[in-house]
Each structure stands twice: as C-alpha cells, then as structure tokens.
Amino acid sequence: MCLAIPVKVVELREGDQAMVDVGGVRKEISLALVDGIAVDDYVILHVGFAIQKLDAEEAEKTLALFAELDESMGTSLGNPVA
C-alpha cells in the first residue's frame, strides 16, 4: 500500500506544471492529470503527478491523519526489505 500525501500548490507554471510544498521542500510536479487547480489548493501527489484535488474538508481530515501518523511513527520510518 502506498501512502498518498496531500501537498499544497504554491505556484502554477507553464505546461501544466506547478510547484508544491512537500513538508517545507518545494518540488515541481505535473498537473496534466487533474483540472482546475489553483494556488493554495491541496492535491494528492503520486510519482510526480497530482492525481486528485482535495476539497478543503478532505484536505484537513487527511492532513490531520498524516500529522497523527507522523507523531506515532516519528521520522525514522525505514523498514528495509533487504
């Protein structure tokens, strides 16, 4: 299962690209798979693409869940398979 973390869009760029804030780090992503994204919207990010726009309520719920997860697991999440 792959965690899908909401990220905030901080800047729209040409060619369906956007800058998002991932835990304080800015990253360029593609908006080619979703419509109607504006600055300050939250999207679900997967391998460099925004795959879903979250409405404010969903984003809040999901962020609260990830904050809880962060707290319960700390930052050392490595689970080496091999």
């Binding site: 792959c2 973390i5 080619a32 869940l65 997860l69 999440l77 689970n79 091999a82």
Partner: protein, 365 residues
C-alpha cells in the same frame, strides 16, 4: 514529515551480465498501525484517504475485511459498486503505465492528456449509467491509443493474427512489445495463484503467527509474483508467449494488455466474486482484492467495535521480495553496457510496478 518512501534498486554488473541485485525499501509499512484502536466505521473511512493511490481497492478491502470480522455481508448493490470502482481504478492504472511510464522508459513521447479525460470520467462515475459511459469512452481511447482496433476484437485474435498485429509495428504498443521480447530475463519463480477463501484462512493464520509476513510474504514457503502475469497465466496467448520467449517484460506487458482489454466490459458487467473475504474466527476478517499491481490483502482483528490489529500485504512486497520476481528476473540477465543494465532493471521494475517511485543504481563488479 512522513513520506511515501521509495525503492532503491541496487544492481551489480560485471561487464557481461547482472551478477547481483538487492532492494532497499523506505516504505512505511507500519503506517496501518495508526488504524489500531479506532472504531471500525472510522477505519473504513480513513483507509482510502491514507492509501489513496489505489484508494478504491484499499477501501473495498478494508470494508470487506471488517464486514467479515463482524459476520455481516454487503448487499448486492454495494458489492457491485465496489467491483466497478476497483475495475475503474485498474483501468486508470494500466492506462497510466502504458501511456505515460512505458513510453518514457523507451524514449518515446508520453501521452498524459489521453489519460486525464478518462480519469475525470472515472472520478465522477456514481451510477450504472455513468459507468457505461466510462466503458464506452475507455473502449474508444483504447482502440485509438493502444490496440488500433476494438479491444474486444483484439481479445479474440488467434496466435497468427496476434503475431501479425505485433509485426505491423506501427503503433507504439506493438513496437514496445516487439522490443521488449528481446530483453531475456531469468526465470524460475512462482506465480501467486488466485486466492480462494480457504487460502485466505491459511494466510490469515500465517499473518497472525509471523510478524514479518507483511514485509516478506511467500506462498507455500516460496516468493511468488502477483499481478497480471499471474492472473492471466492460463490465457492461450500468454502461455504461447512465455513458452516462446520466457517470462520477459513483454510477457508482462501482454498480460496487462489482456486484462486492460477486458476492463471496459467489467465496468458494464462487474465480476461476481472479485473481492473475496472470510472470517477465520469471530472478530477476525481477511479480504483479498485484485488491483492493477496484484493481490492486495487486508486483515483485521476487532475488539468489540474497535480495531485491535490491522495488517496490509501489498503487491509490491510480493514482487520486490529479496528473492522475488525482480531479483530473480535480473540475476544472470545479459547486458553489454551499463546503460543496458540500467534499462533492463528499469523495464522489469516498471513491469512489476511498485506502488512507489524507484531508483536504479548500477555498480561495476
């Protein structure tokens, strides 16, 4: 901040072939522990939010496992809606692999625009009529962008006609299939069978008894590959393909093409028993759901109305097992250059489709 993690795929190349393969994962497999202690209804609501890349499948697996644990069953309308949502999600994932990822790996142009419209339709499908619309739009897209004929007609091709289709080589998919047949991989690894209810009971017992089973799943003691190749392994075209070329990347692409071509019809007529679940004992439930990447297992134990234990076994753990299909497929694979080595690892990783980003590194032996 928590991250989705990634797979680091380390390959050793001696100038002629791949002599070592190892996998490091930073995926937070323990994330589902956050569900423990919460009420069942909340868990069923949270799972698709937490794991939203394949959220429909995750949500259906969570609901089915919890229902089994409580000894209740969904009505037919709910069951059908879940099967449709899972088929729709599969359709999105397969088209992503074929129209975005695979062209990029082969140096061809990705086509995200084709996918965006389909995703929009799937995202807003709520009733039978809308799903029929999605099926029609999907058939049109697949005919134009993938099969160059109706997917239904393509599914009916006999071997000789199929070879003609591959040899025609005009469409990106045909070129890819022909190229990927040349990438010979190692073999000798098992396929995960379709898990029946009795199998789920046995797996549930193992999940409870073996704490590392979620990280290192195995079938009868051996690593096993899950996904389209395993599910379609009995299809005559695939039997012939594997017999002739081996379990190549092309065989896995063909398996995906065989499933993808059937998905529009599954949106119209959902599977009767795609989601399987069982309760090995009161308060415990396990469910298996077929996703694009393979079989997804959710297992839950309840205390009253609250979740006491929650475990998820994702397809990535089967396919990227330290002795699994990725590792065994690459060991011994011939490669003349470092670029070829990197490409082989990237193509097999793509064929086995981990649910997170991956990075390939090559070291010289």
């Amino acid at each position: 901040m928590i991250a989705e993690g990634k797979l680091q795929l380390d390959v050793v190349w001696d100038g002629k072939q791949l002599t070592g393969v190892s996998i490091r994962s930073s995926r937070p497999l323990a994330a589902c522990r956050i569900l423990e202690g919460k009420p069942v209804a909340e868990v069923v609501r949270l799972v698709p939010l937490l794991f939203s890349v394949c959220g429909r499948a995750q949500g259906a697996a969570a609901a089915a496992a919890c229902e089994a644990a409580r000894g209740v069953a969904p009505n037919d309308a709910v069951r059908v809606a879940r099967e449709r949502a899972i088929a729709g999600e599969c359709l999105q994932e397969y088209t992503w692999r074929l129209l975005i990822d695979l062209p990029a790996l082969l140096g061809e142009a990705a086509r995200p625009g084709e996918l965006a419209d389909l995703r929009r339709r799937i995202g807003s499908a709520r009733d039978e009529l809308r799903w029929h619309d999605v099926a029609g739009a999907a058939e049109e897209l697949l005919e134009r962008a993938v099969y160059e004929m109706s997917p239904r007609v393509w599914l009916g091709l006999r071997p000789a006609a199929f070879e003609k289709w591959v040899a025609r080589g005009e469409a990106p998919m045909q070129r890819m299939l022909a190229r990927l047949r040349q990438l010979r991989l190692g073999g000798d690894f098992g396929l995960l069978p379709w898990l029946e209810v009795a199998d789920l009971g046995a797996l549930s017992a193992r999940l409870e008894a073996e704490p590392d089973f979620v990280q290192l799943p195995n079938w009868q003691g051996e690593p096993a590959e899950t996904g389209a190749l395993a599910r379609q392994s009995g299809h005559p075209l695939l039997v012939r393909e594997v017999g002739q070329y081996g379990a190549t990347v092309a065989a896995r692409l063909l398996a995906r093409l065989l499933e993808l071509a059937q998905l529009p019809e599954q949106l119209r007529q959902p599977l009767a028993s795609g989601i399987r679940c069982v309760s090995p004992r009161p308060g415990s439930g396990i469910a298996a759901v077929e996703t694009a990447r393979g079989t997804l297992l959710h297992q839950v134990t309840l205390t009253g109305d609250h979740v006491a234990h929650y475990r998820i076994v994702a397809p990535t753990e089967w396919n990227f097992h330290p002795q699994g299909a990725f590792v065994r497929g690459l060991l011994g694979c011939a490669a003349k250059t470092e670029t070829e080595t990197r490409a082989a690892a990237g193509l097999l990783a793509h064929a086995l489709d981990p649910c997170v980003a991956y990075e390939v590194s090559v070291a010289r032996a």
